[in-house]
């Protein structure tokens, strides 16, 4: 039994004492499911710091529900919970209202809760060790310091230099250690119920990370990791974990409700002394007000900067556990088949997909713009080409599965040792799409665009390409302009006229082309 009933309390509805509510505290979930969603605004890999994605967390909790009205308090929900998204199901008569309280238990909120109330002041005599306790009423605080009224008169806390502190008779029930979600409900009879609490929480992200090994005859061994990041302080043990790929509409995350600061800053009157006096006091010297006062700083901040970027994934071992893909409307859901622990401030990697022989076409690409900047020069400088590995996302080509966006590391083989060829990023690719990888540029295959004498109606260019490889290579350059005339046949690729040529080993190729002047 994970729920306990706290001592009886009334007074939530002071005017209706007949509706006294019992407080039921649910400490932790029995089972939890986490579905991760990517940060839609992120284009590169997951950075350090607070992750920009989010997660749907579904918790199953067992609660001993008393008869009558009750307040159920859920403890241990995620730090980044967006309270407006909370859904509670499984209560016999539904949910009356849901409350998320952001007031946290701390020194300052205690003073705030006991303002104009009676507390005990405890002083210890440094010489004799004798402890004196006396009653006092908190007159003001916590901002700007704390003033106490006792039988003797009015005093400021922490200004005398004596060891002194406050003691409170109890903890106000509306202050909690962590931001808490509570719901009101009622039940005809006492019973044990299983409820599901689901909510969206900030501070999660996931991405695919690919490792590709370039094999013989231009085939790829493509292996994908699912990298899951939890940036919150709440871990989820043995969670049924899945991740959703695709672009969802998601508004900017609303600001999480914040309560008053729980840290107490005791301030006093100016406590400058003769020995500190001196001409002229530096304006920003240690503020006299701060000397002699002490600060109790209680921080509930998440430890920042602890998240390390996922290390470059090693070349894949044979995966034991692989995520299973299913359709979720127009999105793709990847389910980790076994429960795993999504720990706080941690990244986790699970195999996402593996395809052993993906056919790729290797080609070199140049770019063309019709501006003959080199009019005066004898010959413009040649430029390196972009290396392109092009695959079709089809079963017949050895692929044929949805590919979520992610970074890809491409490895080659050098005498049995893997060597990094380059890194490329991949956008979301559906089945049937073309997949292009750009691992780098080639200095061995170079091209030059030379402006030729033009007329009023035509602009003329010559494109030359050279190949320093000992084998033939394919070169491609798209020409997205109105072509009047070309010395070779142009193919249409994605609606753009493109010159594609097989450059012989250690050879050259060239194209003479004329564009219509549009005027």
């Amino acid at each position: 039994m994970l729920a306990r009933i706290a001592l009886g309390l009334a007074a939530l509805f002071a005017a209706a004492p007949a509706m006294a509510q019992t407080l039921v505290v649910s400490d932790k979930p029995d089972a939890v499911a986490v579905t991760l969603y990517r940060d839609g605004a992120r284009s590169g890999p997951i950075g350090q710091g607070w992750p920009g994605g989010y997660a749907l967390i579904t918790e199953t909790r067992t609660i001993a529900l008393p008869a009558g009205a009750s307040v159920i308090r859920f403890v241990g929900v995620s730090q980044g919970m967006m309270p407006e998204t909370a859904i509670v199901t499984g209560l016999p008569r539904g949910v009356g209202e849901k409350n998320r309280d952001a007031r946290l238990l701390g020194p300052a909120t205690l003073v705030d809760a006991y303002l104009k109330r009676r507390v005990t002041v405890r002083r210890t005599n440094r010489a004799t060790g004798k402890v004196t306790e006396s009653d006092a009423v908190i007159e003001s605080g916590p901002e700007g310091g704390v003033l106490l009224t006792s039988d003797a008169g009015v005093e400021a806390l922490g200004c005398s230099g004596l060891p002194e502190g406050l003691r409170y008779p109890g903890v106000p029930a509306d202050l909690s250690a962590k931001p808490t979600l509570s719901v009101t409900s009622d039940s005809a009879a006492a019973q044990t119920v299983t409820v599901q609490l689901s909510y969206l929480a900030q501070g999660f992200d996931w991405s695919a990370n690919y490792v590709a090994q370039l094999g013989e005859r231009d085939t790829l061994d493509l292996f994908g990791w699912m990298t899951v990041v939890n940036g919150g302080s709440q871990g989820f043990a043995d969670a049924r974990t899945s991740a959703v790929a695709g672009k969802l509409n998601k508004g900017r995350a609303a600001r999480l409700p914040v309560g008053p600061a729980p840290a107490l800053r005791l301030q006093c009157w100016p406590l400058g002394t003769t020995s500190m006096a001196g001409p002229p006091p530096a304006p920003d010297a240690v503020s006299a007000e701060d000397i002699g006062s002490f600060e109790i700083v209680v921080t509930g901040n998440r430890v920042r900067g602890m998240l390390q970027r996922a290390p470059a994934p090693p070349p894949p071992p044979a995966p034991v556990m692989m995520a299973e893909q299913e359709e979720l409307g127009d999105l793709k859901l990847y389910r980790i088949p076994e429960p795993v622990t999504v720990a706080a401030l941690a990244t986790k990697q699970v195999a996402l997909l593996h395809r052993e022989s993906v056919k790729v076409a290797r080609l070199y690409r140049g770019s063309f713009s019709p501006f003959p900047y080199n009019d005066g020069e004898a010959r413009p400088p040649s430029r390196p080409t972009e290396i392109v590995l092009r695959a079709e996302n089809r079963t017949s080509e050895g692929l044929g599965l949805p590919l979520p966006a992610g970074k890809l590391a491409l490895f080659g083989d050098r005498g049995g040792q893997p060597v990094l060829i380059g890194e490329s990023s991949l956008a979301d690719r559906a089945v049937g799409d073309e997949v292009e990888l750009f691992p780098g540029t080639s200095s061995d295959v170079r091209y030059t665009v030379i402006g030729r004498p033009a007329s009023r109606r035509r602009q003329a260019f010559r494109i030359e390409v050279s190949n320093a490889h000992d084998g033939p290579v394919t070169f491609e350059v798209p020409i997205p302009y109105a072509v009047a005339d070309a010395s070779a046949e142009l193919v249409l690729r994605k609606g753009v006229k493109t010159w594609r040529v097989l450059v012989p080993a250690n050879g050259t190729a060239s194209l003479d082309i004329a564009l219509k002047r549009e005027r």
Partner: protein, 460 residues
């Protein structure tokens, strides 16, 4: 001031003193009624019973909103006339107390660090600039100049210094006794919006929708046991700003719901009294509809007669109605709709959210949840030919692909037509819905492709 529920109620020590010092869960508030608008203003009405004596008397009102707009305060009651209203915000701190004590006498208690013996002395505070200069008898010294512990005890707290900003009213009372007085004021810091949970069942083409009112309280004050009414409608500046509204009202509705209304405002009274704690976000249900009809379509829009270098995903759109017949049967206050769908194991998964403007009952709605992974489109300029100095002929081809296992229909729109663009030829008959926009319904077979070719005659 603080309403609290006590875990250790029995531990509370001094019942006898409860008379002068209020218990922590006591509030000075009376019978509260709060009306919360969507522009961040709220009207608080607080009926308190005042114990008054006849004549001129000063009353302090504790536990009003810490963000109260004092100029909006009114107090009314039988036999009460208002002389003046004050809002004091000079806050009581140790430094302020010392400053106000300059010139007066305080008690100092010096503790001997070796023996612990205490010496009491009367001291006059001469100044509080940077340090405290005291006159004790005939000698002048600086407080704690030697760094040894010295307690300073003040006789009383001066007038006008408050722990919290305090509203006080001076009254002229005709006859004494217990008088019910209504205090009302406006305060910022309370607000509400609505959050909807929509569960979409694709197989049944149906949605279940729950609406929740989300109330936030950042006023610094807890409102105990209040009757709360929420008002939908825009007094001024209530429209959501900086949010993308992905839900559009296709056809505004013409039906009237049976919700309470006043002019163009709609009232959502909460069913029972509730306590709105400070720094709390509260949700209360106001709508629960099961099995309303909804269908899914795809939308793909080309902005002008340009080409795409990469195929773009179509938007997934849910179409539903707020009509009484076959719809949600209620008007929707503006808010956020979150859409869920069950996965293969039957667990609801989040598939996207979208802001929604206030929609009258009977409206036809389109909700965009996100981009479809598998349905894409790409525009290609096949040919652009100059007909004359100001006329061009543009041949566009639109290719749609679907990797889905069932046939889909894409609502494809070409915008940017300006009204002077004419269609010369089209491979599929479309509809010119406006001067600027042309729409086609393109059927795309399962795991297949479809193309539409359109020839435009444009003027420039």
């Amino acid at each position: 001031m603080r309403r609290a529920v006590w875990l250790f109620a029995a531990a509370w020590p001094c019942v006898a003193q409860a008379k002068q010092i209020p218990a922590p869960d006591k509030t000075a508030q009376g019978d509260l009624a709060i009306t919360i608008y969507q522009n961040g203003q709220s009207l608080v009405q607080d009926v308190r019973t005042l114990d008054l004596t006849a004549g001129r008397t000063r009353q302090e009102f504790a536990d009003v909103s810490a963000k109260i707009r004092p100029e909006t305060v009114t107090l009314a009651g039988p036999g009460i006339g208002i002389v003046e209203q004050n809002f004091d915000y000079d806050l009581l701190t140790p430094y302020k107390l010392m400053e106000k004590a300059v010139g007066s006498v305080v008690t100092t208690v010096r503790t001997n660090p070796a023996t612990g013996a205490e010496t009491r002395e009367q001291a006059r505070v001469l100044s509080a600039n940077g340090g405290i200069v005291l006159q004790i008898g005939q000698r002048i010294e600086v407080l704690r100049d030697d760094g040894l512990p010295v307690r300073v005890i003040f006789d009383k707290v001066p007038e006008n210094l408050r722990a919290r900003p305090t509203l006080s009213v001076t009254l002229q009372v005709a006859g004494g006794g217990r008088v019910p007085a209504t205090l009302s004021y406006l305060t910022p810091g309370l607000g509400w919006t609505s959050d909807y949970v929509m569960l979409f069942d694709e197989a049944k083409s149906a949605i279940d929708m729950q609406g929740w009112i989300t109330l936030t309280n950042n006023t610094g004050t807890t409102y105990t046991n209040a009757a709360v009414t929420l008002v939908a409608g825009a007094p001024s500046g209530a429209a959501a700003f900086g949010r993308l509204n992905d839900t559009t009202i296709d056809t505004p509705g013409t039906e009237t719901s049976n919700r309470e209304r006043l002019g163009d405002y709609v009232f959502y009274p909460l069913g029972r009294r509730t306590t709105i704690a400070n720094a709390q976000q509260k949700q209360v249900s106001f709508l629960d509809v099961k099995g309303a009809a909804a269908r899914k379509t795809y939308e793909w829009t080309n902005g002008w007669l340009g080409a795409d270098s990469d195929p773009r995903s179509a938007a997934t759109v849910l179409k539903f109605s707020t009509s009484k017949n076959g719809g949600l049967g209620d008007q929707l206050p503006s808010g956020t709709i979150r859409v869920y769908m069950r996965d293969r194991k039957g667990e609801p998964q989040f598939i996207g959210e979208s802001g929604v403007d206030a929609a009258p009952m009977g409206s036809a709605m389109s909700l965009r949840t996100g981009e479809a992974f598998d349905v894409k489109g790409a525009a290609t300029v096949v040919e652009r030919k100059k007909l004359s100095a100001r006329r061009w002929k543009t041949t566009m081809r639109y290719d749609f692909t679907s990797a889905r296992a069932e046939a889909v229909s894409v609502d494809f729109a070409q915008t940017g037509l300006w009204g002077d663009v004419r269609i010369v030829e089209q491979s599929l008959t479309g509809e010119r819905v406006s001067a600027d926009r042309m729409e086609w319904k393109v059927p795309v077979p399962a795991n297949g492709k479809a193309s539409v070719t359109v020839v435009f005659d444009t003027r420039y």
